[in-house]
C-alpha cells in the first residue's frame, strides 16, 4: 500500500485527490456566488449540501492518507450507518431486537474477512451463513406472525448495506497481477464515477429531461438524464481510468458504462424503498443530501458489479 514516509505527491491517487479538492473548492465558490446573486431557489439547501460534501470527502481522504486499516474501518462504519438507517425506516417487530443485534455483528466479521483477504468466505459469509443463521435466530424468538416479512426485510438490508458495500473495501486488498498498491486508485475511481454519475444524471435530467423512465418510482428520472449520465461517465472513465487504475482505455470505458447503468438502478431501488415507506429522505445524517442511504444508494449497486468486473478481467 501507499507508504506515507515516501509521500509522492505525483502518485495518481494523490493527484486525483488534489483534483477532487480543487473541484470542491470551485463548486463551493460558485455556489456561494450564485447564492449571493440570488440565483438559487433554496440557497440554504445548496450550501448545506456542499458542506456535507466537504465532510464526506474530508473523511474519505483522511482515511486514504491514514492507510489500509483506516480505510477499511471507515467503509465498515459506513455500512453500520447505512444498516442502522435502513433498520430505522423499515418496520420490524419489537421481538426482533436481538436478531437485529446479531445482524449488526455481521459488520465486524465481514470487514475482518476483507482485512485478512479471505475471498472465499468473504463471498459466501452473508449470502449463505448469515442468511441461514439469522433465519434460525428469528425462529428461536418464537413469534410466527410476520416471520416471512421480517426475515426477508432483515436479510435484504444486510445484503445491501453490508455485503454490497464491503466490496468497496475489498478493492483495497485485491491483488492485480504483480501489483499490490492499486486498491486506492480503484476505490477512488469507483466512488468518484458513481457520485459523478448521480450528478450528471441529475444535471442532464434538469436541462434536457422530458420523457420519464419510471414515473411511479422516481418522477425526476428521465431518459435524457440517464443517457446523458451514461455517455459522460463513459467518456470520463476512459480519460481517468488508465491514469488512476491498472485498466487500459477500453476497459475503463466499459467500466464507466457498467457504473453508470448500475448506479441508476441502485438509485431507483432506494427510491422505491422510500416510496413504499412514504418518506422523502431516509434520514438527516447528511444535511442537504438526506440520509446516508440517499447518498450511497448507487454505490450499493455499482460496488459489487465494478468489483467483479475488475476481478474477472484483471485479478
Amino acid at each position: 500500500m501507499i507508504d506515507l514516509s515516501e509521500f509522492d505527491f505525483f502518485h495518481p491517487v494523490y493527484l486525483t485527490m488534489a483534483l477532487v479538492l480543487g473541484v470542491l473548492v470551485f463548486a463551493h465558490i460558485t455556489s456561494y456566488c450564485l447564492v449571493k446573486l440570488n440565483k438559487i431557489k433554496s440557497p440554504e439547501e445548496l450550501l448545506l449540501r456542499i458542506k456535507s460534501w466537504w465532510w464526506i470527502i474530508g473523511l474519505l481522504f483522511f482515511s486514504i492518507l491514514s492507510g489500509l486499516t483506516a480505510s477499511i474501518i471507515l467503509i465498515a462504519f459506513i455500512s453500520f450507518l447505512a444498516l442502522k438507517e435502513y433498520l430505522s425506516i423499515v418496520p420490524t417487530r419489537q421481538s426482533d431486537r436481538r436478531v437485529i443485534f446479531w445482524a449488526y455483528l455481521t459488520i465486524p466479521i465481514q470487514y475482518y474477512l476483507v482485512s485478512i483477504n479471505w475471498y472465499g468466505l468473504f463471498n459466501i459469509f452473508i449470502p449463505v451463513y448469515v442468511f441461514l443463521v439469522l433465519s434460525v435466530r428469528m425462529v428461536l424468538t418464537g413469534k410466527n406472525s410476520g416471520f416471512i416479512h421480517s426475515v426477508g426485510v432483515l436479510h435484504w438490508g444486510v445484503m445491501l448495506t453490508v455485503y454490497s458495500v464491503s466490496h468497496v473495501a475489498y478493492l483495497l486488498v485485491l491483488p492485480i497481477g504483480e501489483l499490490t498498491d492499486t486498491g486506492f486508485g480503484l476505490m477512488l475511481f469507483l466512488i468518484m464515477m458513481t457520485q459523478l454519475n448521480d450528478v450528471c444524471q441529475y444535471l442532464f435530467g434538469k436541462l434536457l429531461g422530458r420523457r420519464k423512465i419510471i414515473p411511479a418510482v422516481s418522477p425526476n428520472k428521465t431518459w435524457a438524464g440517464f443517457i446523458g449520465g451514461v455517455i459522460s461517465i463513459t467518456i470520463l472513465s476512459g480519460g481517468i481510468g488508465p491514469f488512476l487504475t491498472p485498466m487500459d482505455i477500453q476497459f475503463s470505458v466499459l467500466a464507466g458504462f457498467v457504473i453508470a447503468v448500475t448506479g441508476f438502478f441502485g438509485d431507483v431501488t432506494i427510491s422505491s424503498v422510500k416510496r413504499d415507506l412514504q418518506i422523502k429522505d431516509s434520514g438527516q445524517l447528511l444535511p442537504g443530501h438526506g440520509g446516508i442511504l440517499d447518498r450511497i444508494d448507487s454505490l450499493m449497486f455499482t460496488a459489487p458489479l465494478f468489483f467483479h468486473f475488475v476481478r474477472y478481467f484483471y485479478a
Binding site: K84, L87, S88, Q94, R97, S282, G283, Q284, L285
Partner: protein, 215 residues
C-alpha cells in the same frame, strides 16, 4: 452544582453520552430552533426508555448541561446510595414524589427553585416509561407547575425509536436512529383538562413527523 460533580458530568456527557447518542444511535431532529436554550423553561416529552433523558440532555451544548434538570421519580432513582448519588449529583435530577401522598403545594418546591434560577426542567408527563408506541394518559403535574408562572411555557417534544433501542426491562442496546420532534410551546390553559388535551393533541401531531418506524 459542585465543581467536581460538574467535571464528572461534563466527562460523562462528552465521552460517553454524546458519542453514544450521536454515533451508536443517531438523531433525526426536527425544529431544533424550538428547543428552549435559555431558562426558565419546561420541556415535556414522551417516555419509553432510560435513554430519553440522555438524548434530551445531549441536545444541549456541554456548557449548558448543568442547567438542564430532569424531574425524575424519587422512589426509583433514589432507591440505593449509588444511584441516588449519580442521579442527584451527576445527572442533576430533581426528585419528585409520585406516591400521591405529598402535599401539592410543596411537591414542586424544588422545581420552582430551579425555574427561579433560570434552569430548564425536563418532565415526562406520562409519569413512567410506557410501552413503546403507546402513549399513557398524561398526568396533570406540568399544568400545576406552570399555571401561576407567566415566565414559563412548556415545550412538547416527541421522541421515537428509543423504545426499540433500549425498552423498559432490557439491558441490550440495539442501535437505531431516533427522531426528536420539537413542537410549539403549549399556551397557558384555564384548567388542567384543557392543558392535557392540548398537550395530547400536540404529541399526536408531532408523532406524524417521525421517520423511524421502530417505536
Amino acid at each position: 452544582m459542585h465543581k467536581l460533580n460538574r467535571l464528572i458530568q461534563l466527562l460523562f456527557f462528552a465521552v460517553l453520552v454524546k458519542p453514544l447518542v450521536l454515533i451508536i444511535l443517531g438523531l433525526n431532529i426536527r425544529n431544533k430552533k424550538g428547543l428552549p436554550m435559555e431558562g426558565p423553561a419546561v420541556i415535556m416529552a414522551n417516555h419509553n426508555s432510560h435513554l430519553d433523558t440522555m438524548v434530551l440532555m445531549s441536545l444541549f451544548p456541554l456548557r449548558k448541561m448543568h442547567k438542564v434538570r430532569p424531574v425524575a421519580a424519587a422512589d426509583y432513582f433514589l432507591k440505593n446510595r449509588w444511584m441516588a448519588w449519580f442521579s442527584l449529583k451527576i445527572i442533576g435530577i430533581i426528585p419528585l414524589e409520585r406516591t400521591g401522598k405529598a402535599d401539592r403545594d410543596t411537591l414542586f418546591n424544588e422545581c420552582h427553585d430551579a425555574l427561579d434560577k433560570g434552569e430548564i426542567l425536563v418532565l415526562f408527563p406520562e409519569g413512567s416509561r410506557g410501552l413503546p408506541d403507546q402513549m399513557s394518559t398524561l398526568k396533570k403535574g406540568v399544568y400545576h407547575l406552570i399555571k401561576d408562572r407567566d415566565d414559563v411555557s412548556a415545550v412538547p417534544i416527541v421522541m421515537n425509536g428509543l423504545g426499540f433501542a433500549l425498552p423498559k426491562g432490557e439491558g441490550l442496546l440495539v442501535p437505531v436512529n431516533v427522531d426528536v420532534i420539537v413542537g410549539q410551546a403549549i399556551d397557558h390553559s384555564p384548567n388542567a383538562d384543557v392543558f392535557i388535551d392540548s398537550t395530547t393533541k400536540a404529541f399526536t401531531q408531532l408523532k406524524e413527523f417521525c421517520i423511524t418506524k421502530q417505536s
